[in-house]
């Protein structure tokens, strides 16, 4: 008999338990070969069978050595619940099961002495979301007829770029009573109200990033939807920088400036301007923290694109050298605008925070009309890698903060001058059109989405602790890894097709939401179209409470 060693890690300490039926198993080995986390292994069990052959009990024992699949009891190589073993098993002999009694958060810290890191989204407060208590409740009836989603035309576009107040438009009438321009105006691109992004090449596998870029190009070239993709901080392949498809890309610059060496040296060869520049200050999933790409994912091609050696790549939590909002306006925005000769709009992305309105006010009041978009990212946003404590315990929900910023603009008569783009868990339940539409009614010009795009491609992670291993470089579906064998599990064309089809479905759904409220252009700020069954939410967002 063995002595109990209570401090040993055992599988019932781990977040997932492997349920295995040896009777159904053919020992094909697929599950073990598939598990990228090495959380299961083959082993031989010694079995003892006691039996009796005669009319009277004459027990005999027979010993046998049985090959079985067994769960690894390690806090490093532990099961993430991704379910790949179940997916490949021909006999339904194996599957992971969530372990409600897990001690993983405690023993990982005890054994490792370091903060837990993972990918995905916040895994706490999984209950009803704010947007789920809101409905589109202002339905056109009788004198104000609903539109026909199939027959009528709709303008589903949102601005990216700084918009002048009407009184500052440099127009005057000529002798023929036509308005003529006396000066230039800031660049503005009208794009689809859902931006894909912003996930870097590095965080994503090259196949996944390519799939998104392909889907973006297809949506534009074949489907007529002017969808834009944000590069994330990590550069862009030179081939794309020099192609006509650059016009569909929003180039991101963050505090690590990763990839900008290549972008800058490719400028002379660019035949199109990018769709915009996005200066990333913060991210909703891990506010106050910079990007994190662990050395395991810094493969050779990532080193080449980013111009770095194989090492942990940590973007600083802030842009070094920036002292204040005013300075960021003057330095970063002007230099990025000047880089493309003021033809390309420049926007900023920040994490939603209790202070977001102050930041927004500073930008919207800047007299130079430079900031071309305010991207506000809420706590439910995803990330490739972050400390779990940041993911679960820091950040600010998006709905009320977006609303605060819009109403701050309204109170100053400046609504629309800096387009508001919102993100952070939108589409979490699978219905991005509904979430986006509600955010637009609350004041957003558009939304951006990252995690959901990966889920379209095959990501199996969720907000209840499933997988969330993007940081490990061992993504079982080839999306957030640079391991060649894993990356090849992802069919980029199939992933691109899924994204395209999702956008086409979403486009129909937008129309099915616009038609009943009788609007043919996006109802930005039409909070009168929304109702909520939750009094607290209704009061906070200044929409009608219903019961």
């Amino acid at each position: 008999m063995e002595t109990i060693k209570v401090n040993n890690t055992t599988v019932n300490d781990l977040p997932w338990k492997i349920i295995y039926d040896a009777n159904r198993c053919t020992m094909c080995g697929s599950c073990v070969a598939t598990c990228s986390f090495k959380a299961i292994k083959m082993k031989v069990e010694r079995r003892r069978m006691v039996f009796s052959e005669g009319d009277f009990p004459e027990p005999k024992a027979q010993f046998s050595a049985v090959p079985v699949i067994s769960q690894v009891d390690s806090v490093r190589d532990y099961c993430r619940g991704c379910g790949m073993c179940e997916k490949v098993c021909p006999n339904d002999a194996i599957r992971p099961e969530r372990n409600p009694d897990t001690r993983h958060p405690i023993i990982t810290r005890c054994l490792g002495g370091g903060s837990i890191k993972r990918g995905g989204r916040k895994n706490l407060e999984g209950g009803k979301r704010t947007l789920d208590s809101i409905r589109v409740g202002r339905i056109s009836q009788m004198t104000d007829p609903s539109l026909d989603a199939q027959r009528h035309t709709f303008d589903l576009l949102a601005p990216f770029g700084r918009i002048l107040p009407p009184g500052k438009l440099p127009f005057s009438p000529n002798q023929n009573n036509e308005l003529v321009s006396n000066d230039t105006t800031p660049p503005v691109n009208w794009i689809y109200p859902v931006i894909i992004g912003d996930m870097s090449i590095g965080a994503l596998s090259w196949r996944m990033w390519e799939a998104i870029a392909m889907a973006t190009a297809y949506l534009n070239e074949e489907c007529g939807l002017p969808v834009r993709m944000s590069s994330g901080e990590g550069g862009v392949p030179r081939r794309l920088l020099r192609s006509k498809y650059l016009k569909y890309m929003i180039l991101q610059i963050a505090s690590g400036h990763f990839g900008w060496n290549r972008i800058v040296t490719s400028m002379a060869d660019m035949i199109e301007d990018p769709a915009g520049i996005l200066i990333k200050i913060g991210q909703g999933a891990k506010p106050g923290d910079g990007g994190l790409l662990q050395a395991g994912k810094v493969a050779e091609h990532i080193q080449a694109i980013r111009g770095v050696p194989k090492t942990d790549l940590l973007s600083p939590p802030n842009h070094q050298g920036l002292y204040s909002i005013e300075e960021s306006v003057q330095k970063m925005f002007l230099s990025m605008s000047a880089a493309f000769k003021f033809r390309v709009p420049v926007a900023i992305k920040v994490a939603a925070s209790s202070t977001s309105v102050s930041v927004f006010n500073n930008l919207v009041r800047d007299p130079y009309n430079i900031v071309g978009g305010f991207f506000l990212d809420g706590i439910d946003g995803g990330t490739g890698a972050a400390h779990e404590v940041s993911l679960d315990h820091t950040g600010h929900p998006i709905a009320s903060k977006l609303r605060d910023c819009y109403l701050a603009a309204v109170s100053q008569g400046r609504q629309g001058q800096i387009p508001l783009w919102a993100a952070g868990g939108l589409g979490k339940t699978g219905d991005l059109a509904a979430d986006a539409f509600k955010m637009i009614c609350l004041g957003a010009n558009g939304v951006f989405s990252g995690k959901l795009i990966l889920q379209m491609a095959g990501c199996v992670g969720n907000d209840m602790g499933r997988c969330n291993a993007c940081n490990t470089g061992l993504c079982p579906v080839g999306i957030t890894t640079q391991e060649s064998q894993l990356v090849h599990r992802l069919d980029p064309e199939k992933a691109a097709q899924n994204i395209v089809n999702y956008f086409l479905a979403m486009d129909q759904e937008f129309k099915k939401l616009m038609a009943p409220i009788g609007n043919s252009s996006l109802p930005v700020g039409r909070s009168d179209a929304l109702i909520s069954t939750d009094r607290g939410i209704a009061e906070r967002l200044e929409i009608q409470h219903v019961c």
Partner: protein, 368 residues
């Protein structure tokens, strides 16, 4: 639905014609009120076209309050006219005790000042009067503007006509432009200010329909100009946008249509003036209208125009003869006023059109 109508004539016409125009459409409206704006006045006001006339309905106390304010500012009354009312029993009207139409000389300090300064004074004065009379509903100040009179009342339009003796044609109370509407606001509370036509600094609007971008419009407009107040009706937004585009920005009238129902993006892209049209769509996006509506508008220079929503969800028709142009929600109204016109020349504007009529009755059709 509302029914709206407007008459523009080379000769001075009596409001009874406007009543006739609207009366024939009564099955389309609910007979809950009558309101009109008369501009380019004849009769007793003809000699005072350059001086402002106050149009107000009020109580005894309301008159005193208003006169004190006007006196304090320095306005000097030169003409006062109150309609002789027939307060017969059984008339369906919720009348105010007094209807005041008074023409004033400007305060001495303003006499030598430019037109713009005087116009601002008139607006400030009207806003001050309105605020002062708001407590206990002592009065309603509809307009205070040169060469323009506004009348609004709640009740049956026919009875309102009888009450104000408007059915009896005379040459004392006439105008070359009359716009009229026969319905109280039915979407929200019955408020006198909520009845069209609405007037602000020489601009008049009346509308048939709804503005589903009311909240967007209102939130934007209330910070644009001190005169953009009230918002008792979603149709007031139509007026404030007209005032803003034409007067404040100084843009030609044809751009009003580009602001309220901008072209789809793909059509803008194909235009030579796409830079301007895109900038308009961007910067004035909160002044866009959505929902079904038809608008009739009147400018300070007496130009009358009509346009409608981008999907043509509300009707309007324009008929004319040599001396008069009539715009109406329904053809039966025009048939009543101009029975002998050549109806083949009637105009049914489309969803991308603005039709404008100048002082020579020249009808212009602008495609957006």
């Amino acid at each position: 639905m509302c029914r709206i109508g407007a008459i523009k004539s080379l000769d001075y016409v009596h409001p009874s014609i406007a009543l006739k125009l609207m009366q024939s459409q009564q099955e389309g409206h609910d007979n809950s009120g009558f309101a009109m704006v008369m501009q380019n006045l004849g009769g007793i006001f003809e000699s005072y076209k350059h001086l402002p006339t106050l149009s107000m309905a009020c109580t005894d106390d309301g008159i005193k309050i208003a006169e004190n304010i006007l006196h304090e500012i320095g306005f000097r009354r030169i003409v006062q006219w109150s309609p002789q009312v027939n307060d017969w029993p059984g008339l369906d009207i919720s009348a105010m005790p007094h209807y005041v139409f008074e023409t004033f000389n400007y305060p001495y300090a303003y006499e030598s000042l430019g037109k713009k300064k005087k116009q601002e004074l008139l607006l400030d004065t009207r806003l001050r009067l309105r605020e002062a009379l708001e407590d206990n509903e002592e009065g309603f100040v509809y307009s205070f503007w040169p060469d323009l009179i506004t009348l609004k009342e709640i009740g049956d339009p026919h009875d309102i006509g009888t009450y104000f003796n408007l059915w009896e044609v005379d040459d004392r109370f006439t105008a070359k432009v009359i716009t009229a509407q026969c319905r109280q606001n039915t979407n929200y509370d019955i408020v006198r200010y909520a009845a069209h036509p609405f007037h602000l600094q020489g601009y008049t609007i009346l509308a048939n329909g709804e503005n589903t971008f009311y909240l967007k419009n209102k939130e934007f407009q209330q910070g644009l100009h001190r005169g953009y107040i009230g918002f008792e009706s979603d149709s007031q937004c139509f007026l404030y946008t007209l005032h803003y585009v034409h007067r404040q920005l100084g843009w030609p009238l044809r751009y009003y249509k580009h602001v309220v129902t901008p072209l789809p993006f793909d059509e803008i892209e194909a235009r030579e003036d796409k830079q301007q049209l895109l900038a308009i769509r961007q910067s004035l996006t909160h002044l866009e209208f959505n929902g079904p509506n038809t608008i009739i508008g009147l400018l300070p220079d007496n130009t009358l125009f009509t346009c409608c929503d981008a999907k043509k969800l509300r009707p309007v028709v324009i008929g004319h003869d040599d001396r008069m142009v009539v715009i109406s929600s329904e053809i039966c109204g025009i048939n009543e006023v101009l029975p002998d016109r050549d109806w083949e020349t009637d105009i049914y504007p489309n969803e991308r059109e603005t039709v404008a009529i100048d002082d020579n009755l020249e009808v212009q059709r602008w495609k957006q």
